[in-house]
Symmetry: D2
């Protein structure tokens, strides 16, 4: 399997976090899936992703004190693998896991995704529960070791028997305690220990993907791995776990899209992300603040040369519509972004080629927000054929261009980043030359949000506003 085939376009979907935090349950997921199937699927929206702590009993019940209750009970199978909390996901009982929910979502013509934390549960390590590990001479791991020794490839750090720290002692089972690294933790979530870089650790990840494949999972958002930001001196300490995850996906036989969080991703690891993952978050959590949108312009400039088929720098979820419902008393709100800011967000995300993961509770979507999500012209800029190019960026304004190599369509977006109305122009041919982009020499330009025609890609823009043009042929 070629992982770049798993997501030929930047994924579009819905994620439970922005509205539900840790409180999402099966009914919420089904209701949102129903809405997507009915109203958004035809525009390309397809992933339904259950975000953090679906395995944690009582998640969200002490929200004023903890976002993630430490040392709480996590639902787990006999191989130290987390299972859905049966109270919130009743269809998961009797070993069914997420399979029934996944089946339902697939029945709607949609795809199913889950969030996981890097590592193995701390509770498993302290309880010395087993992991699924077969040591037979013809098993997958030995084959893997063989491959590795021949190609010398895929990974800069290979399994080496002598450095392995996980040992099977006297024929007894390998347990979570053998592969859990007690000093590899997440700075903001107490659930897991990192997995050591050894064959038994790989076997654990293999067993996870085997389980998820059996559930029909199509998309995994793995957290605490893109930037393990508790260790400022070692922000890429999860490097070997990224490789283990990618390898386990290849072995499981199912084309599972791999998304890495949290950001900001490390630009000097761009090649590593591209080799092993489909999406990687290039920003800290993004919320409905203009400052969050504004800083994304610099991040998109930084990552613009790394948008390719199957490889998507990720600008994070869309905090649009109704959000914050599960974040505690008084947190539910409509997005704080203005209409102009929302168009700016959608325009930048689309011309840049970011994945689009809606954060809103979809059953509460208003007409305006729906219109943002269903503009086929804007969404059509989202293809690897449209290699994005920033034309310029100052404190006050920015412009981007993209040319669809297949269709020949040329796009130009102009943005007013300042707090005042101002004229922004991307008409100067030198801008395109300096950016290595084709110079548009069109007689007219169609603005894709309004349908208006312009004679050049320039306009008077409101504060934080934008125009997105398609040049006439």
């Amino acid at each position: 399997m070629n992982k770049n085939d798993f997501a030929p376009l930047p994924p579009m979907g819905w994620n439970s976090y922005d509205y539900y935090d840790t409180t999402v349950d099966e009914a919420h997921v089904r209701a949102n899936a129903d809405y997507m199937a009915a109203h958004l699927k035809e525009y390309g929206w397809e992933y339904v992703v259950v975000d953090i702590q679906w395995y944690a009993r009582g998640a969200g019940s002490m929200r004023s004190q903890y976002q993630y209750i430490p040392y709480s009970h996590l639902e787990m199978d006999e191989y130290s693998r987390l299972l859905p909390d049966p109270e919130r996901f009743p269809s998961s009982v009797n070993g069914a896991g997420f399979r029934p929910l996944s089946d339902y979502i697939h029945s709607l013509g949609l795809k199913f995704g889950i969030h996981i934390m890097r590592g193995i549960p701390r509770q498993a390590a302290h309880a010395h529960t087993p992991i699924k590990y077969e040591q037979s001479g013809t098993g997958a791991l030995l084959a893997w070791k063989y491959e590795q020794s021949i190609t010398g490839a895929l990974s800069a750090r290979k399994y080496d028997g002598s450095s392995s720290t996980a040992k099977t002692i006297d024929g007894t089972a390998v347990t979570a305690a053998d592969i859990a690294d007690p000093s590899s933790i997440c700075g903001w979530n107490p659930d897991m220990y990192g997995v050591r870089d050894c064959a038994e650790g790989q076997a654990y990840y293999d067993s996870l993907m085997e389980l998820y494949a059996s559930w029909g999972v199509d998309y995994i958002k793995c957290d605490d791995i893109c930037n393990t930001n508790i260790y400022p001196h070692n922000p890429y300490s999860g490097r070997h776990e990224i490789e283990m995850l990618a390898r386990a996906i290849q072995r499981c036989g199912r084309p599972i899209v791999l998304s890495l969080s949290p950001g900001p991703a490390l630009i000097e690891q761009a090649n590593h992300y591209k080799t092993h993952a489909n999406l990687w978050r290039i920003t800290d959590d993004l919320w409905d603040r203009w400052s969050d949108i504004l800083q994304m312009f610099a991040r998109c400039e930084l990552w613009q040369d790394h948008v390719e088929r199957g490889c998507y720098p990720d600008c994070d979820m869309l905090p649009l519509g109704r959000i914050g419902g599960g974040f505690g008393e008084g947190q539910e709100r409509s997005t704080n972004l203005t209409h102009d800011e929302q168009r700016t967000l959608m325009t930048l995300w689309c011309i840049f080629g970011s994945p689009l993961m809606l954060g809103a509770e979809m059953t509460k979507l208003d007409a305006w927000t729906l219109s943002l999500l269903t503009n086929r012209d804007i969404l059509s800029m989202r293809t690897p054929e449209c290699r994005p190019r920033q034309l310029f960026r100052t404190a006050d304004a920015a412009a981007w261009t993209a040319c669809n190599e297949k269709t020949g369509d040329r796009y130009v977006a102009i943005f007013n980043l300042s707090d005042k109305e101002r004229t922004v122009s991307a008409a100067d041919p030198e801008l395109y030359q300096a950016a290595g982009a084709a110079v548009p020499s069109a007689q007219s330009y169609t603005e894709l949000w309004t349908g208006q025609e312009y004679v050049s890609p320039s306009a008077v823009l409101p504060p934080h506003g934008c125009c997105a043009f398609r040049a006439a042929r």
Copy 2:
């Protein structure tokens, strides 16, 4: 002018530094140009570049104590612009500057380049010598300011009258003292002060390019600007001077290739380099040590997505053949790289698409070195149509691929980075898939250094050795 047209291929040429240090003179340059015209031009070698301190009287005369003699006399014209040292460049007298030498080189069908330091001579600032600056209302600078205000573009930092620190007082001439920033210095060379970010500073750079264009300069290597490494907290303090240089080149009317040094370039500024320059050094000074070649593999991985037409990450000069002649007693030597290491160097530089600037004294070139420089198959990998892709890199081995989009030629290079003979293979299709590259499915592979045929891109390689394959169609 589109700066990306100035260098449609990664530049190839000769640079005086590796052999002459600061001691190069006119006779040396002519002799090397003669050799290039006679023996290398037909293979694409064309630039003849005079490196550092061509303007410094007595340069190299105190080499045991200083590489660059502080406070020494620098040859300078009436507008604070440096001129060739007439003792070393006798044809430059009477205001001719580098024009006669340039004419000679052009007469050979070659191109002429010079090295400059960022900034304006300290001696000019302390002597308060004038700069060329016209304040007429229809002058270039006012026009520039007008352009800037309209487009809001090209530069994140624009001229703003209120923040300008260079002032013309009471109609008197603007001098070097007005634009030289006394706290902007180079950490390793004492010649210059940085130029302030103001219209008068731009005028100085304009006057430089006007002069260089009049000399027929085709290529400028500007130093202390790509990474102003004296300031670890502010390594890109020359940002505005990069922009000024690029703008001055546009204005001078001559397509002068712009090369920035020293490295390592800052990956987070990739877009800025690409917008304003043609080459930028991605490494510290590279010499004839295996460790220097080895670290280049990581740097090429880092920069591989930024090789485009007119935009070339630069792996630095080729320390091949006879080098070190001007570095003091006992420094002249033949390169310390083994034959295998030299092929590895050439192969990596070429498949990556780096510029090639030979450091050797060409009149002393031996047959082996000449053969390295004249392998048309190897050199043919150097085109932006061949977008480079690293397939893998471990401590022991690496592989790259490139596919010429025009011709369809597919290249694979394998490298043994270890100190022992070992088999290295790039035969696994998954490697190509993960790298987003076309999978070669050829029946045979021609090794470009030896002409031998292989059935797959794998081989037993000597320590530090390589193979460069072209797949059969």
Copy 3:
């Protein structure tokens, strides 16, 4: 109680670590105590300190793989307090804890110390075991809170009900899970979580000191607290736990000496160490390497102004005699320090005023080592009345002076830090003036290791050698 009265002189004693690592048992401790009582007590040696993991079952049994076995069973009482491993400390059974061993040591006229790790056992947090916590209105904690609000003192960070994260819910018991911070871990030992800064956390430390006082503990070496070096951006993250420990000692009613590890201590926290502790380690672990001794000269210079009664910068244990016995096969050895280096070590530690904690297995002490430990003249420099002053330090040599304010005795030590024999002199009066020290104008100087007389404090010294002089009155 005034904590500065607990240790009017820098403590002298024995610590089990350098010989036993984690394997020390009751018999070892008793044997060493017997030796100390018989041979060293009369010279001031009095503390017998049991170092790390006395509570861990099977400690040292997987030494080739782990120094500290993760997730292993830790002996613990009903209040989440660690107890001695009954296999290694048989007298501790039936709730006796360290009391029997302590009684034995006290019966010899010696003092008893233990090592602890900052925090509360991870196993307690994951098992939700209770802590000892009384909420009665007249209890110690309320009184404490009252005191704090009045004085606003002792601690820069005070208990504030609103920020407390440990809560008693509905009258149920407070457990380890309530006070254990899941993101506060030790980078090199997997046993504990840090304790949160709240009243219940204070109660836990109070309960610890109550227990230790009941055992008769005289000295606590608390680890992972002086420099919590897993967090390079926050090396003093245990600040509030230092304060809690100090407060708990005051409350327990027993004058327990408090020693903080590991080093290097943070010079900018000097006042905080002095306010709350008796000893703090100013170096990483020191072993029997000359480089370790050499670097101590710079550290002593750094800390010389902070040696006061009850406040001792700690140069770490003395790796003399037989060491390494518990560190695995083939690790037992006699110290690698030469005789000259050993005298240099003892001289520097003593004139600086460091605590002296012997690392050797005492039952194996040879005559030479014994002579180092029983030189009354050298030991007599170790008093806060002898404020240490470095006279000079170069790459090759150093000199220190100290003047006993009570007796008027003046000491000068000279050190040859180089690898060659050389003359070192501290005869120049300007050295003393510049150091703010009394100028010795004696007619003769007695060298304290040899008894020889000198006319001035200068001598030809062997490599790494020293002289320690007392000036004649």
Copy 4:
């Protein structure tokens, strides 16, 4: 000479900077000296210090653009030594230098100080002007080298002929160009280059002190040397120049007090400061803002163990009374500190033992400010016999104590650091014990600003206010 005898008490005086910036002239200095002699001398105020750029022609004439005009003419003698600007200091003409002004100040019973910048004028280096340097075999430098080789002392970095970079070539004079380091500059002032670490560099500093001694200078404030803050990775790059300065003072035969700026001084260099200097700035420039006063409490805590006879951590000048006069249009003002803040400043500076350098224009002093400066009780705390001890410091309050070892007087100061009225108490004996200070058990406490009696050292304090108590015997 013992440098610690030069300043047996923390110096008190006036400095021209806070009022005059670079514009101070002879008349200003004389007028302030007259005032000091008439009104302040009897309280201990004695130094009159001329601050920065007394040597710069036209200093202050382009204030809106530059604080320090780059490349402006600096008055200089034939040995590259700066001289007073004759326009502002008319008595300095004909080679008199500061001698006439110094004589006048001495005639008033006061002492005379000047500010200098580390290094040698850039204009001297670029002009290759000579330095005073005698190479005779019996000269001072040879003697110095001899001393150094014997004692191996005073300096960690010694002169070593082989590493010297300043050379006398063919019997010609040594010039500024030989000793000026072109890469050692000040980040905020363009006048100087640092001096290289060599014998000729020492000779230059010797010639400076010889000149200053001939002028009768009593006090030197050397700038850009305590923390050469342009180089965040090397903030103590002036280390060898501090040693050269100290050595030159010893040689000049005049007891010149040495004060080092700017701050913040480096705590890890405390011993080096104490060995070579009398004062060193522990803060950035301090102005009349409460935030500046507030941060000084932490700095005083940090440095409290380093206040000794002849060694004074320096809290910077007192921005009281009328200040800002020379800083440009509209800058002259009365201090922005409230009366309570001013008392807090004076109390902290005095109980800590800081030097006191008044920044006000004294001829404009009002009665309130004068009363602050002439409170003998407050000033009497300023003696090395009063070793300062912080008792506690929280976000809201702080307390200090000091006990005069000679007189037995005990002082306690309490401070309200918050913005609200609050009770602050330093009555708890444990505070004194923890700080290693004598516990005051007095029956009454005299408040030194008001003369009121208190029963304990506690009071209700206004925002930013303080009380300074002396305990009854």
